[in-house]
């Protein structure tokens, strides 16, 4: 449980930073031009989702209450789904196959979204099962079975 308390916020922070800064740095969308570009809108949406993911990570780091932590994990699931849907269907990316936003940003964001949903799901189940087995006191699990 102690490991989870530290590790899962770190993972959420990594996801958050990837979603926030990735489309502007590591896997950039197309450069802004006079023409309105879909990938620019996607990058903005991902920035918001990234900030929300960072918020989930920070709250998980600060708050010990397990039910609240489960709630935060559940909240991360729609964030991941949206992180996947924005580049794939809601706002989309540019239509040319060889543009960086389609060749690089789209797959990275899709994989990040899927990974976020999977991680949040596993973490929720883990905390849920842990809760049903015992209670937490100062980060130590007491199993009453």
């Amino acid at each position: 449980m102690m490991k989870n308390k530290v590790l899962s916020p770190i993972v959420y922070l990594i996801f958050g930073v990837l979603l926030t800064l990735g489309p502007y740095s590591i896997f950039p969308v197309c450069k802004a031009s006079m023409m309105a570009m879909r990938c620019q809108a996607t990058a903005k949406a991902e920035l918001v989702l990234g900030i929300l993911t960072i918020a989930v990570g920070v709250l998980m780091l600060l708050i010990n209450h397990r039910k609240f932590r489960i709630g935060l994990n559940i909240a991360a699931i729609p964030i991941g789904i949206l992180a996947f849907l924005f580049p794939n269907s809601i706002t989309g990316v540019c239509s040319k196959v060889h543009m960086t936003c389609r060749a690089l940003t789209l797959p990275v964001l899709s994989l990040t979204g899927i990974a976020l949903v999977v991680f949040a799901g596993i973490n929720t189940v883990y905390l849920w099962r842990f809760e049903s087995k015992g209670e937490i006191y100062d980060g130590i699990c007491i199993n009453f079975e």
Partner: protein, 403 residues
Amino acid sequence: MMAYALTSNRISFLNLRKKSFRTFALILVVAILSFALFGGTVLSFSFRNGLRSVEARLGADLIVVPLGHGKQQESILLTGEPSYFYFNKEIVQKLQEVEGISKLSTQFYLISLSTGCCSLPVQIVGFDPATDFSIQPWIQETLGGNLENGAVIVGSDIMIEDNKHIKFFDKEYPVAAKLDKTGTGLDQSVFATMETLKDLYSGAKEKGFNFLEDTDPDTFISSVLIKVREGYNIDQVITNIRRKTDGVQIVRTQNLITGISKSLGNIITFFNVFALVLLGVTLVILTVVFSASANERKKEFAIMRILGATRKKLAAVLIWESLYISVSGGAIGTILAAIFVFPFNVFIGDSIGLPYIQPSLLWIIAILLGTLLVAFSLGPIASAYSAVKVSRSQTYLTLRDGE
């Protein structure tokens, strides 16, 4: 507390769980190998397919372009980087007099801003249906007939919103067909007959899109595609062309193919050597670790024998351990490679700069099965010696060892 039967399989699992760091390290080694094997094989197959496609699609032996535009012509063909350049049509008459030319056809290039989204231009290639021998056979494969005036054909990488029309310079053109993927720059081009191109050209002019001064498709062309007559040496024909013309550059398509083939050869050689070394290193690591582990657990195995375990069971414990490691590592490695290779195929192809066509599903399944077979069999092969040694050891002597 649940009770479990102490099968060889369960003992192996518990052993691996107890030594979690060692297990993780061994799984990682096998995962790296299967990642490299699966990813590398899919990549090399994709590049080979790309090369084959270039060989099949570059119908002309020579392409004559204005002087100084040879590289741009190569970029249009290989990477799809759009450009336009023109010279006077009079060159065709001079070329018709050159000895050793079997067929020649002209093309006219335009570039356009895609109006739907994104500012990257699209290459538009206008061809003469009466003389063309390079694009039409390829179009006929997809369309089943010739391209009509007023319609266009698009390369496989051109995305069309409703799949029926494409807009250039504020005018909609019906899309007759989408061509199969070639892995070349032609995938990013749009093809039209010269008549359609003239319409596109005037549309561009009306929109204030000026190409080069005083150029129009009636008197200017961008390139002349040449098929050398059978029995003639290509170098001799190039010399003949040079004698008759000036201010032109001749692109030899065979040189493009040779260039790609050379780069591809280097990549594939590197991959083969890398994969072999990795395979050897993985086998050595697994053999050494299993041997050391079996040696370290000699007394444990002797006690198991005293408790009633057969020699076969001791060997099975080691084999199961190695199988768990191989299967997990193999599966993780191939999954990661698939996550890397398939979604990022366009990015990989663009970064390496070689024509890239992914193998068919059947080939991918064959490569996957091959990789899993190698990865899954590595562990049992590496632990076979230790398993035999453990099963043959004398229990009494092993237990008294060191006294």
